[in-house]
Amino acid sequence: MAQKRKRKKRLYQRIRENKRLQSAETVVLPVMLGIAIFLLWQGGIVHQWFHTDVFTLPLPTKIGSIMGDNIDKILENTFSTVSVAFIGLALGCILGYLFAVLAAVFPRIGSGGLGIIGAFASIPVVALAPVMNNWTRDLSKEASIRSMASKIIVVMLISAANMSLNAYRGLTEVKPFSEDLMAIYTTKKRVVLWKLRIPNSLPYVFIALKVAVPSSIMTAIVSEYFAEYITGVGRQIRENIVLAQYATAWAYIATACIIGVAAYVLLMVIQGLTLRRYH
């Protein structure tokens, strides 16, 4: 009986219970999935599934070699896109948070105002970008500067809307007992805001960022389509598709994916460091 149990443990349970293997599993399985997708793609099986050809969906090795050949040009365009996305994101988040604080301090006007901010979030970039192009036209004589400003404003508006809606929830949905406690102490409104509401909103800020970071990159890429000055990953995707250069377009699509993933990982690391005391 004892032997039987021991053997059972050897076969399956030991693997299950081994913590090291478990943690390895969380890395190995996704990597294996990635390799499987790569092989299916490279082997042309994916093309069969989607009834497409290596022309419209080029092989990963081809995409990789183009990325390698044009690394300078790709980095230049990446820098342009990333700087627009991050400056816009930073400005938008600050603006959105300030608006949420205002709304939390003056809830009567605030709740109505947030509705309008929410409406901003749902304006499509394709509609917003040309409007901002016209608006920033007199800003500078340099097309590169005014076109960057107009892209930043679009990203800013979209991220501000996102941030203010989430931050407002964090600032107002505090635990009832803490609010009661503050009331018992007859704390001033300013102190409640500083000691209770703002710390409480921090996790919500990260919820907002999880949406705002990818969407700021997407917005930057789409607004590049309409920009006066020709630069950026999004613009390159479009230029190359029009010339039927799918492999090059895919090289830029892959670049956009890498930017998105890198930004998300960075955000997760910052969140882990900042929110440690919440867990």
Partner: protein, 390 residues
């Protein structure tokens, strides 16, 4: 109940405030536009005076202008084009005068030209130029006050609208290709001879623009289809002129840079014979109009929204030319980001309308396309400017 009304009142209040702010911005913009218009009229006044001061001066000015205007606009960095494969003629023009080959990205309106953020703007003779000149709905009403630089006169013309299909389709369905060409060219011939009637047909077929603009377009498109780059009349509609096509390919090779090394090498080694085939149009021209098409239901992908730019196909359809050769043709609208080369290459449609450069770069990238007729015999691209800006 009262609380609810209060809340609604507050919401309304905030909404009114924002609306007020927005309209405030609007009036301000309108004001500044008004100011701009005033400045414009002042500008035209001065040009009027200078014109009155002496005809010899005026003629000297116009003779000088082309190069001077290009130099001045390029110096300010205010030359505009849409990019996306439309820019090579402009790049070649800038290079011709040893200027930096840079341009501003123009959107699909002429607002940038109107507000002077682009002083030398791209326009197609049959579309944007009409909007700039005319004062019908959507037009800017500049009339003949604007100056025009023609790519054909500057020697940097590139060939635009053609008819193409894949080499495989042409090899498998030669009779269909001949029949389609025969009927389409017949449609184009009729449209070129009767542009106003063609405009009406296009408008009724579901046009994307107003009837007035449509009739303007038809006149200009007729000119493009029946005049060559040197200004001579062409009676042979659809002819693939070797010199014009070679010039296009040469300019393209100079200014198109493909990041894909393999494609770029292939592009540089392309010859005219790789991208066009004259046998079908020759067979269609010498035919008596009876064909045995292998495929009777075919489609053609337009490069842009349905309008008189493609009047030949609409005329051939409306007047039954396609039916006469035993074909049913589906005309597929393009626009925005439609990549006509891709649509034809993957078999979504059988024929397409594109520009020679797009076709050449697609073939260099690995597509299997061939041009079978050249509809526009000269470049439709011009650069427009307001003389008072220079």
């Amino acid at each position: 109940m009262r609380k609810k009304t209060q809340k609604w009142m507050r919401m309304l209040g905030v909404a009114a405030l924002t609306a007020g702010m927005l309209t405030g911005c609007g009036t301000k913009a309108a004001e500044s536009q008004g100011g701009g218009a005033a400045a414009d009229s002042a500008g035209s006044k001065t040009t009027g005076e200078s014109a009155a001061s002496g005809e010899s001066v005026a003629s000297q000015e116009t003779e000088l202008s082309s190069e001077a205007v290009i130099r001045a606009a390029a110096g300010d960095g205010k030359v505009g084009n849409w990019g996306l494969g439309n820019e090579y003629e402009v790049l070649a023009l800038l290079a011709k005068y040893d200027l930096p080959v840079e341009y501003l990205s123009q959107d699909f309106t002429m607002d940038g030209f109107d507000d002077d953020s682009i002083t030398l703007a791209s326009a197609m003779t049959y579309n944007e130029l009409g909007l700039v000149k005319n004062d019908y709905d959507g037009g800017y009403g500049y009339g003949d006050t604007i100056g025009i630089i023609d790519m054909n006169d500057e020697g940097v013309a590139m060939m635009e609208d053609n008819i193409f299909c894949t080499k495989a389709f042409a090899a498998e369905n030669p009779e269909t290709v001949k029949a389609f060409l025969y009927a389409s060219l017949k449609g184009w011939e009729y449209a070129v001879a009767n542009p106003q009637e063609a405009a009406k047909i296009c408008y009724e077929a579901g046009s994307s623009v107003s009837q007035e603009h449509q009739s303007y377009m038809a006149d200009e498109v007729a000119k493009l289809a029946s005049t060559d780059t040197k200004g001579n009349t062409v009676t042979d509609i659809g002819n693939m002129d070797d010199d014009a096509m070679q010039q296009t390919l040469d300019i393209a090779k100079q200014y198109v840079t493909l990041d894909d090394e393999a494609a770029n090498t292939a592009f540089q080694s392309l010859t005219l014979d790789d991208i066009r085939d004259k046998t079908f149009i020759e067979a269609a021209k010498s035919s008596d109009g009876t064909f045995k098409p292998e495929k009777t239901e075919v489609s053609i992908q337009l490069k842009w929204l349905p309008d008189a730019q493609f009047m030949g196909y609409y005329v051939a359809d409306a007047l039954g030319y396609y039916k006469e050769v035993g074909l049913t043709v589906n005309i597929v609208s393009g626009g925005g980001d439609i990549a006509e080369t891709t649509a034809v290459n993957n078999g979504t449609v059988d024929f397409g309308v594109t520009w020679e450069t797009n076709l050449a770069s697609a073939d260099a990238g690995g597509m299997d396309l061939v041009e079978i007729a050249q509809i526009f015999q000269r470049s439709g691209l011009v650069l427009v400017y307001k003389p008072e800006n220079f």
